[in-house]
């Protein structure tokens, strides 16, 4: 345990932030291409054309996709066979996100909620957001990084329904949240839905849902069917890319779920913008690093 150099985690945390801002995951690119081909509204088609051109320019010119470099979120999965010191990982993620911001350099958006002071580091009290999960069969540290822009994050919703409201209330809440968000979250992106759990868990589940590859289905057929049903309904609304009208209003609806209380029926919606940015790294104890999405 003593031998592993946590400086490597810091370097990877920095690299992940920058990679996520520059390299759009292949599944998101495919979804956007399919949307462009399917779209029949002429102005919407122009928007998709511009989106695809932007991804191409970011690749070719080695540029950030979007200027909103967001708040950094790290989803960490620790394998049982990986020798780990959680506190050191936490420090390494903090330092890595800060170094990405200062060394690249790009605009830092982290701000004190009362004084509105911005240290221009993308971190601060409570940031970066870190979620911890564990995998008994893994021998590595698996880090998924999401830079979350404010246009989409500001549209987040959560509601504690009661059992008597039924599943219909949950579905209506999702659709109504999407309608209310309109053009703000830079649609068409991924609509993340959390169902069940407690108030904090349901919100995290919605965030976990947007972190999945675009268009992937929940392994449980009950929730996969629900995803398809909501996706179809939302794409029938006519809101379109950037809320300016069109056939494609969302790339995908993803649901994550948990058991809840007998008296509760919680739902949360977390929207991701069309540049559904994410980057992943796997780190092994011997210092090997593998980047992906």
């Amino acid at each position: 345990m003593g031998k592993f150099n946590y400086k490597l985690v810091e370097d990877v945390a920095k690299e992940l932030y920058i990679r996520a801002l520059k390299i759009l995951p292949p599944d998101v690119r495919e979804s956007l291409k399919r949307a462009y081909e399917k779209e029949s509204n002429p102005s919407a088609k122009t928007i998709f054309e511009t989106i695809l051109k932007n991804v191409e320019v970011a690749d070719k010119e080695d540029m950030l996709i979007c200027q909103d470099t967001g708040l950094p979120i790290y989803m960490v999965e620790i394998g049982s066979k990986f020798p780990v010191d959680g506190a050191k990982i936490k420090t390494a993620l903090y330092e890595g996100a800060k170094r990405a911001t200062l060394e690249y350099p790009f605009r830092g958006s982290s701000t004190h909620p009362v004084t509105r002071e911005n240290p221009q580091t993308s971190v601060g009290e409570g940031l970066p957001v870190i979620h911890w999960e564990f995998n008994p069969d893994s021998d590595c540290l698996n880090i998924l990084m999401i830079p979350k822009g404010s246009g989409s994050e500001n549209m987040s919703t959560m509601k504690m329904f009661i059992p008597a409201d039924g599943l219909a209330a949950v579905k209506k809440f999702v659709i109504d949240s999407v309608v209310a968000s309109g053009s703000n979250p830079c649609p068409p992106g991924i609509i993340g839905v959390g169902i069940g759990g407690t108030a904090d868990l349901v919100t995290w589940l919605a965030k976990k849902a947007i972190a999945r590859p675009a268009g992937s289905r929940n392994p449980d057929p009950l929730f996969a069917e629900l995803e398809e049903e909501l996706e179809d309904a939302i794409n029938g609304l006519g809101s379109g890319p950037m809320g300016l009208g069109g056939d494609i209003s969302t790339l995908a609806v993803h649901i994550e779920w948990a058991y809840t209380h007998i008296t509760q029926n919680p739902v949360a919606v977390n929207t991701q913008c069309w540049p559904a940015r994410r980057a992943r790294a796997k780190i092994w104890a011997n210092g090997k690093v593998e980047y992906g999405f």
């Binding site: 102005s43 511009t50 979007c66 053009s183 300016l244 540049p275």
Partner: protein, 197 residues
């Protein structure tokens, strides 16, 4: 739906010839500013040190770096316009701004001002900042640099766009039209999900 390549500064006649759904590409100069800049002008009563008459305003907080005397772009993108709505009618009335470029549109008061003074709201594709940055040839001037990244930026642009005319000088609002259409389609979406109303 017509396409136009327009050169700045714009005159009233040109702006009144644009209708919602038209596509516009801009050559010439545009001025970038946002929340803090407008609070500085209108709430703290500072006169802009440059004439904005006839020019478009872009809602942006650019990432720039200063190399010698020059400002170079790292990434310039566009932010949500509704936060700047309160200042938009006065930009048109007091300073002769002819176009506002942003995402998500503005409210009724701004639409009324566009009708009165002959101006348009041009919707950019949000999130497409890499492309937007390559269309900026030069950051010619940064006024009020102490406000950076919310100063006034004079950008020289080439083939800046495509921009969709989303609010025009005839009181048309594409966002409102789409929202109305969504309301019409909403009962069908509920039915698809077996939601009884």
């Amino acid at each position: 739906m017509a396409s136009y390549v327009l050169k700045t500064p714009f005159d009233e006649k040109t702006m009144r010839s644009l209708k919602v759904r038209d596509i516009v590409t801009i050559n010439g100069h545009i001025f970038g500013m946002r929340d803090k800049t407008m609070i500085y002008i209108f709430d703290q009563h500072n006169e802009p040190p440059v004439s904005l008459a006839g020019f478009p305003i872009l809602h942006t907080a650019p990432s720039l770096k200063k190399v010698g005397d020059k400002w170079e772009t790292i990434i310039v993108g566009t932010t949500t316009s509704t936060r700047m709505d309160r200042f938009s009618p006065a930009l048109m009335e007091n300073y002769g701004v002819r176009a506002i470029i942003g995402k998500s549109g503005l409210y009724q008061g701004s639409l009324d001002a566009m009708k009165r003074f002959g101006a348009c709201y041009l919707a950019i594709v949000g999130g497409a900042a890499a492309l937007e940055t390559t269309q900026i040839e030069e950051v010619e001037e940064v006024y009020w640099p102490h406000l950076h990244p919310e100063a006034i930026y004079k950008f020289r642009v080439k083939d800046f766009g495509p921009l969709i005319v989303a609010m025009d000088s005839y009181g048309n609002n594409l966002y409102a039209d789409v929202r109305a259409k969504v309301q019409v389609n909403l009962p069908q979406a509920y039915r698809k999900c077996k939601i009884d109303l």
